[in-house]
C-alpha cells in the first residue's frame, strides 16, 4: 500500500473582511470547504491538527476545535510555531501518514483579526502601561519594541552588511501586488510602484507602511491522506515531497544573526527529502509579513547566496513571468494576513499545482515551495509540494 503523503483537499473561509464570522467559524467554514473539495466523508477523518492562535474571545486550540468539529481522531497535534505552524504540520503529518498513525487528517486555521481589532493600531505593539511582564519578555517589555520593529532590526542589519536598499525591498511588495491585482478578493488591488512604497510613511526604520502586510480576517484548511486513498478522489493529488522545520530563537532579543534565519537549517533537509534542486522549483510561497521576511527567506533557503537577494529581486526574478514567481495569491502584503498566514501558503501551492491558479497560474507548475516564518524570523517551516509522484 502506497502511504506517500498527499494533499487531497483545500478550503478557504472568507477574506479579507468577514465581520459575520468569528475565529471558530472561520475554522469551520474552511473545514467544510476542504472536506467538500476532497470529496470524502467527514467520518473518514482520523487525524486533526491546528495551531490555535485565532485569538479574541473564541477558544480555538486543537482539542477544543476537535470537540467543536466532532473529529473522531486517533492522531492530534497542536504545534504552535506562529505563522509557520502549518508548514511544521505538513512535516508532522507526512511522518504520521507514512507511519500509519492516521490515514486522513484535517488541518484548520481561522481568525477574525481585522473585524475584532480593526486596522487603526497598525503597529504590532505588545505592551501597555503598568502591565507586569514575566518570563523572557520581562527583559524587553519596558522599551516599547513593536512587531514591525523586530523585523526592522533585521532589515537594518541586512542593509548594513550587504548594502541592500529600500528600493530592492520595495520590489518585493510591488511584485506581490501585481499578483494581488489578479485576485478579486485581495485586500489591496491598486497598481503600486517602488516609489509608492518608499514614499509611504515610515513605521519602524527602515520599514515603510507598504513594506508591511495587510491585516485581514480569514481562515483555511487542508487535508492529507495516503497516495493509495487519493487514487479515486476528484482532485489531482498533490504530493508532499519534503517538509522540515527549524528554530533559532523565539523572542527577537535572542536572535543570533539578524541577516539570516532557521531556513538555512530547514531547507537542506526538505530538499534532501525531495531529492530535487532549487532549479526544479517552479514557484515560491513565502511568508511575506514584511518585505524583509521574503528577502531573508530567499537567501537562507539557498535560492541565492547571502547578500545577493537585493539585486536578484530588483532584476524581477520573483515577479509574474520571472524565474521564481512569488506569492501568486497576492500574499500577506496585499491579499490576506489574518495573523498566522502559513496555511494560505500551502493552499495556494496546491491550487497552482492542480492548475487552478486562474489568471495567476504559473505555466507548467510541477513543484512549489512554501516557507513559513513564525515569530520574528524565529521558527521557519519549509514544505516542498509536487504534482508528480516522487
Amino acid at each position: 500500500m502506497d502511504r506517500t503523503p498527499v494533499i487531497i483537499g483545500v478550503g478557504l473561509s472568507e477574506y479579507p473582511v468577514a465581520p459575520d464570522l468569528d475565529g471558530v467559524q472561520h475554522h469551520t467554514l474552511a473545514a467544510q470547504r476542504a472536506i467538500a473539495d476532497a470529496g470524502i466523508e467527514k467520518s473518514e477523518i482520523d487525524g486533526y491538527v491546528n495551531a490555535g492562535g485565532g485569538g479574541g474571545m473564541m477558544v480555538d486550540d486543537a482539542v477544543t476545535m476537535a470537540e467543536y468539529l466532532r473529529i473522531d481522531h486517533k492522531y492530534i497535534d497542536g504545534t504552535m510555531t506562529g505563522g509557520s505552524s502549518f508548514e511544521f504540520h505538513v512535516q508532522h503529518l507526512a511522518a504520521a501518514i507514512r507511519d500509519g498513525l492516521c490515514d486522513t487528517a484535517l488541518v484548520t486555521y481561522g481568525s477574525d483579526q481585522l473585524s475584532r481589532m480593526g486596522r487603526r493600531l497598525g503597529t504590532g505593539g505588545f505592551q501597555r502601561a503598568g502591565q507586569r511582564v514575566s518570563g523572557p519578555m520581562q527583559h524587553e517589555a519596558a522599551y516599547g519594541n513593536s512587531l514591525v520593529g523586530s523585523y526592522a532590526m533585521h532589515a537594518m542589519r541586512h542593509m548594513h552588511e550587504f548594502g541592500t536598499t529600500s528600493e530592492q525591498l520595495a520590489e518585493i511588495a510591488v511584485g506581490v501586488r501585481e499578483y494581488a491585482m489578479l485576485n478579486p478578493k485581495a485586500m489591496y488591488r491598486d497598481p503600486m510602484t517602488v516609489d509608492d512604497v518608499i514614499n509611504s510613511r515610515m513605521i519602524a526604520d527602515p520599514l515603510h507602511k507598504l513594506d508591511c502586510c495587510a491585516i485581514t480576517d480569514g481562515g483555511g484548511a487542508f487535508m492529507i491522506t495516503t497516495a493509495e486513498r487519493a487514487k479515486d478522489l476528484p482532485q489531482p493529488p498533490v504530493y508532499v515531497l519534503g517538509a522540515a522545520g527549524a528554530q533559532t530563537h523565539w523572542n527577537v532579543s535572542q536572535q543570533v544573526d539578524f541577516t539570516t534565519c532557521a531556513g538555512a537549517k530547514a531547507a537542506p533537509i526538505a530538499f534532501g527529502q525531495a531529492g530535487i534542486t532549487h532549479d526544479d522549483v517552479d514557484m515560491l510561497m513565502f511568508y511575506d509579513s514584511f518585505t524583509i521576511t521574503c528577502l531573508i527567506l530567499l537567501e537562507s533557503l539557498g535560492f541565492v547566496k547571502q547578500g545577493e537577494g537585493g539585486p536578484f529581486v530588483a532584476e524581477g526574478n520573483l515577479k509574474f513571468g520571472g524565474k521564481w514567481p512569488l506569492n501568486t495569491d497576492g500574499g500577506g502584503l496585499s491579499s490576506c494576513h489574518p495573523g498566522m498566514r502559513g496555511i494560505f501558503l500551502i493552499i495556494e501551492s496546491v491550487r497552482q499545482l492542480r492548475g487552478q491558479g486562474g489568471e495567476a497560474q504559473v505555466p507548467h507548475c510541477e513543484v512549489a515551495l512554501a516557507a513559513g516564518s513564525g515569530g520574528w524570523l524565529s521558527c521557519i517551516g519549509v514544505a516542498i509540494l509536487g504534482r508528480n509522484h516522487p
Partner: protein, 142 residues
Amino acid sequence: MKAEVRTVEEWVKPLPQPDGVSAEYWQAASEGRLLVQQCPKCGNRQFYPRALCTACGADPEWLECSGRGTVHTFTVVRQYGARPFRDELPYVIVMVELDEGPMMLGAVTDCDPDAVHIGMPIEVHFVKAADDLGIPYWRPPR
C-alpha cells in the same frame, strides 16, 4: 562599574516581574550595576539570565559588566498604538553588543534618533522603576 541611576516620579511603562533567577539582576540594576551570567564550568556568557548555562547545563554565576557596548542593529519606532509609548514617538530600539560578548535589547536615550547607527559605541545608565528594580537604557558615551 557603577552607572548613573535616574529616578522618575511614577513608572508608567510595563514592569518586569522578577523571578527566582532574575531578581538579583533587577536589584543590581537599581544600584547602577549591569550583570550578565557566566558559566563557572565552560565560561559561556549569556543574557537574559536563566537557571542553567545554555552551553553546558551547569549553574551560571554573575559577571559585572563594564556598561559599554556597540549598536549591533536598531530601529526607530515611529508608530505605536498604545500609551505610554505612543506619546514618546519616535524612539530608538536597539540590540546592544556588550563589550563582554552577549547581546541585549534596549532603548537609546539622550540622542537624536536619526544619529544612531550600527557600530556606534554606547554606554548604559539606569532608570529606577521600583525600589528593587532598575531598567537599563543606553546613550552615547559621555
